[in-house]
C-alpha cells in the first residue's frame, strides 16, 4: 500500500512539474532576453484559464480547441503590451527592477479585473473527459492531468524548436547572449523583443490552461504560481529552456512527495522556504548567465 502511495505521489508530481516547467520557460525567456521580470506572468496564465472556463461553460467549446483562439490572442496581446508598457522603461538604468515594479502593477490590474469579472469563487475546468483515468497497475493517471502534461510538454518542445531551429529563434538567442553584437549583425532588437514577449505570454496562457486541468483556480492563485516559477527559473538557470524544464520536474516531484507526508497547509511554507534557501545559498551559483 505504501509503495503505491509513493508511486502515485511521484506520478502526480511529475505531471504537475511539467506545468511548472512550462510556466517557468516563458518567465525565463523574458527575464533572460529582455531583462524583464514579469510579475504578471502567472496572472496571464490564470486569465487564460478563466477564458477557457467561460468558453467551456457558455459554448461548450473544449479547452483544447479554445486554445487555438486564445493563444494567438495572447501572443499579439503580449506584443502590444511590450510596445505600450515595457518599451518605455527599457531606457531606465535598472531595467530589471523597474520592470518588476511595473509588472507588479500590471499583476494587480489583471488579478482584480478577474476578481471583478469572475468573482473570487474557486473554479475548476471540467472538460468532457474529466473524472476519467487510465490505470497502470494500481497507479491512476487522470486523463485531464495527462492532457495538461501533454500540453506542457508540447509547449516546451515548440519553444525549444523555435529557439534552436528558426531564424527568429536564433535571433532571440543571439540577443540573449550579446545585445549590441546582435544589433550590429542587423537583428531588429525591437521586433525580436516583441516576439519573445508575445511568445512568453502565449506560453503563460498555455501553462495556465494546463494548470486549470489539474487544480481549482481563483484570481489570487497566480501569486503561488509565481513563487513556483521563480523557484523553477532560479534553480534551472535564467535563460536555459532545458534547465528550466528539468527544474520544473524536480520541483514537481518534491512537492508531490511532500504532499503525501506533510499537512496541506505547510506545503506552501515549505515551497517559499525552499526558494528562500535557494536564493540565499546559491544566489548566483545555479545561474547560467550572471546576475
Amino acid at each position: 500500500m505504501f509503495e503505491i502511495l509513493l508511486l502515485q505521489s511521484l506520478v502526480s508530481g511529475i505531471l504537475m512539474g511539467g506545468i511548472y516547467a512550462l510556466l517557468g520557460v516563458g518567465f525565463s525567456l523574458t527575464w533572460g532576453v529582455l531583462r524583464v521580470i514579469n510579475i504578471a506572468h502567472a496572472g496571464f496564465g490564470v486569465l487564460a484559464a478563466y477564458i477557457a472556463y467561460s468558453l467551456l461553460a457558455k459554448t461548450g467549446l473544449d479547452p483544447l480547441l479554445s486554445l487555438l483562439i486564445t493563444l494567438p490572442c495572447f501572443f499579439f496581446g503580449g506584443m502590444i503590451l511590450h510596445r505600450g508598457l515595457i518599451r518605455p522603461i527599457t531606457k531606465a538604468r535598472e531595467t530589471i527592477v523597474a520592470s518588476m515594479v511595473l509588472t507588479f502593477g500590471l499583476a494587480i490590474v489583471v488579478e482584480n479585473l478577474m476578481l471583478w469579472i469572475w468573482k473570487a469563487d474557486p473554479r475548476v475546468l471540467k472538460p468532457s473527459y474529466s473524472g476519467t483515468a487510465v490505470f497502470i497497475g494500481e497507479v491512476g493517471l487522470p486523463i485531464p492531468q495527462l492532457v495538461g502534461f501533454g500540453l506542457a510538454a508540447a509547449g516546451i518542445l515548440l519553444l525549444y524548436l523555435f529557439l534552436n531551429h528558426t531564424h527568429t529563434g536564433k535571433a532571440v538567442q543571439a540577443t540573449w547572449q550579446e545585445k549590441e553584437g546582435a544589433a550590429l549583425m542587423g537583428i531588429n532588437l525591437q521586433k525580436v523583443s516583441e516576439i519573445a514577449f508575445g511568445m512568453a505570454i502565449a506560453a503563460a496562457g498555455l501553462g495556465g490552461v494546463a494548470m486549470a486541468m489539474m487544480y481549482t483556480f481563483d484570481p489570487p492563485v497566480h501569486n503561488f504560481w509565481l513563487i513556483y516559477m521563480f523557484l523553477v527559473v532560479i534553480v534551472g538557470g535564467v535563460g536555459s529552456i532545458l534547465g528550466t524544464a528539468l527544474a520544473g520536474l524536480i520541483l514537481g516531484v518534491i512537492t508531490g512527495l511532500c504532499m503525501a507526508f506533510i499537512p496541506y497547509q505547510w506545503i506552501n511554507v515549505l515551497t517559499f522556504g525552499l526558494l528562500i534557501v535557494v536564493l540565499l545559498v546559491r544566489p548566483q551559483g545555479l545561474f547560467k548567465t550572471g546576475v
Partner: protein, 329 residues
C-alpha cells in the same frame, strides 16, 4: 537663483510652517470632531509611518522590500500576545508596542544579514517570500490564535476619547519618524545609503562598510513599522493574520513612497498623505477591486512617466518651463 542666506530664510519659514501644522494637528481632537475624521487621519499617520520607514531601505538604499507588512504584523502580534499573556493595563499595552518594534527589528537583523547580500530582483523576491512565510507560520500556530486571530481588551472609555488617544499616539510616532528620516537624509548614514543605491561597488571603494550600513537601515526600517503595528493592534482590538499581514499594505507603502519620490523624507510624506486620502476616498466610493485596479495603474504610470516620483516630476516640468522662458525671452 536664491542666495544662501535667502535659502536659509526660506528653510526657516518652512520649518515654522511644519511646526505650526504639527501643533494644529495635535490640537484637532479638542474640537471634538466626529470619530470618523480622527480615525481617517489616524490611518493617514499610520501610512506615513510605514512609507517613511520603508523609504529608509527602499528609497534611500534602493533595496526594494516587498514584504514590509511582515514587520508591521510582527509588531501587532507581539503587542496582542503580550497583552493577553500578561493581562497588561492600557498604558502598559501602549508601551508594549516598543517591544513590538524590537521584535520586528530583531527579526530584521536575523533575516537581513543573509538577505541583504542579494541585490535587485533577488532581494525583492526573498522579502516577498519572507512575508508569506511569516504570515503562514503565524496562521498555522495555535498559540497565536491561528486563522481566528487574537482579541485585545478595549479601553473602557467613550469611543471618541479612545480615537483621540490613538490619534495623538500615532501623530507622535509619525512626527518622530519623519524627523528621524529628515535627520538621516543629511547624515552620514543617509549619504552612505544613497551611494549604495547609486553604485554599491563605488560605495565600497569609498570606504563605506556597506553590509553594516545596509543592515542598520533594514533594522531601522523594520523597527518603526513594528511599533506602529503594536499600536494598531490595540486600536483594532482584534487582529488576524488576514488583516495585519495583508499583502495590500506592503504594496501600498511601496507605491506611496515611489509615487512621492523615494530617497527623500518629503517625497515619502507627500506620497503617503496623498495616496492615503485617495485610498480612503476609493474604499468609500468604489468597489475594492476597482480601487486596486486603480493602484495597479498608478504603479504603471509612476514607473513610466515619473520614475523619480511626483516631486521630481513637477520640479523637472518647472525647470523645463523656466528654460523655455529663458530661451524665448
Amino acid at each position: 537663483m536664491t542666495q544662501p542666506s535667502q535659502a536659509g530664510q526660506k528653510n526657516r519659514t518652512y520649518c515654522y510652517l511644519a511646526i505650526g501644522v504639527a501643533v494644529l494637528l495635535s490640537l484637532f481632537p479638542l474640537l471634538s470632531p466626529a470619530p470618523y475624521f480622527l480615525s481617517m487621519l489616524y490611518m493617514v499617520f499610520l501610512y506615513v509611518v510605514l512609507a517613511e520607514s520603508w523609504n529608509i531601505i527602499g528609497g534611500f538604499a534602493g533595496y526594494l522590500s516587498f514584504g514590509h507588512v511582515a514587520f508591521f504584523g510582527l509588531g501587532a502580534y507581539t503587542t496582542a500576545f503580550l497583552m493577553n499573556k500578561l493581562a497588561l493595563s492600557p498604558v502598559a499595552t501602549i508601551l508594549s508596542s516598543i517591544p513590538g518594534g524590537l521584535v520586528a527589528a530583531s527579526v530584521a537583523l536575523v533575516i537581513g544579514y543573509p538577505c541583504l547580500r542579494l541585490r535587485g530582483p533577488y532581494f525583492a523576491v526573498v522579502t516577498m517570500c519572507f512575508a508569506f512565510v511569516v504570515h503562514m507560520v503565524v496562521q498555522n500556530i495555535d498559540l497565536f490564535g491561528g486563522v481566528e486571530g487574537l482579541w485585545l481588551a478595549a479601553m473602557k472609555k467613550p469611543i471618541h476619547v479612545i480615537r483621540a488617544i490613538f490619534y495623538e499616539l500615532m501623530l507622535t510616532l509619525m512626527i518622530l519618524v519623519v524627523l528621524f528620516v529628515r535627520w538621516m537624509e543629511g547624515s552620514k548614514l543617509g549619504k552612505g545609503l544613497v551611494t549604495i543605491r547609486e553604485d554599491e561597488e563605488v560605495a565600497q571603494t569609498l570606504g563605506i562598510h556597506t553590509p553594516r550600513v545596509k543592515i542598520l537601515a533594514f533594522v531601522l526600517s523594520a523597527f518603526f513599522p513594528g511599533v506602529a503595528g503594536g499600536l494598531h493592534a490595540y486600536y483594532l482590538t482584534y487582529i488576524s493574520p488576514e488583516n495585519v499581514f495583508d499583502v495590500m499594505v506592503s504594496i501600498l507603502i511601496v507605491l506611496m513612497t515611489l509615487f512621492g519620490g523615494g530617497g527623500s523624507w518629503l517625497g515619502a510624506l507627500i506620497g503617503a498623505v496623498s495616496l492615503s486620502f485617495i485610498n480612503e476616498f476609493l474604499t468609500t466610493f468604489v468597489a475594492a477591486e476597482i480601487a486596486r485596479i486603480i493602484y495597479g495603474l498608478l504603479f504603471i504610470v509612476v514607473i513610466i512617466f515619473m520614475p523619480n516620483g511626483i516631486m521630481e516630476f513637477f520640479r523637472r516640468r518647472r525647470r523645463q518651463k523656466e528654460e523655455r522662458v529663458l530661451e524665448n525671452g
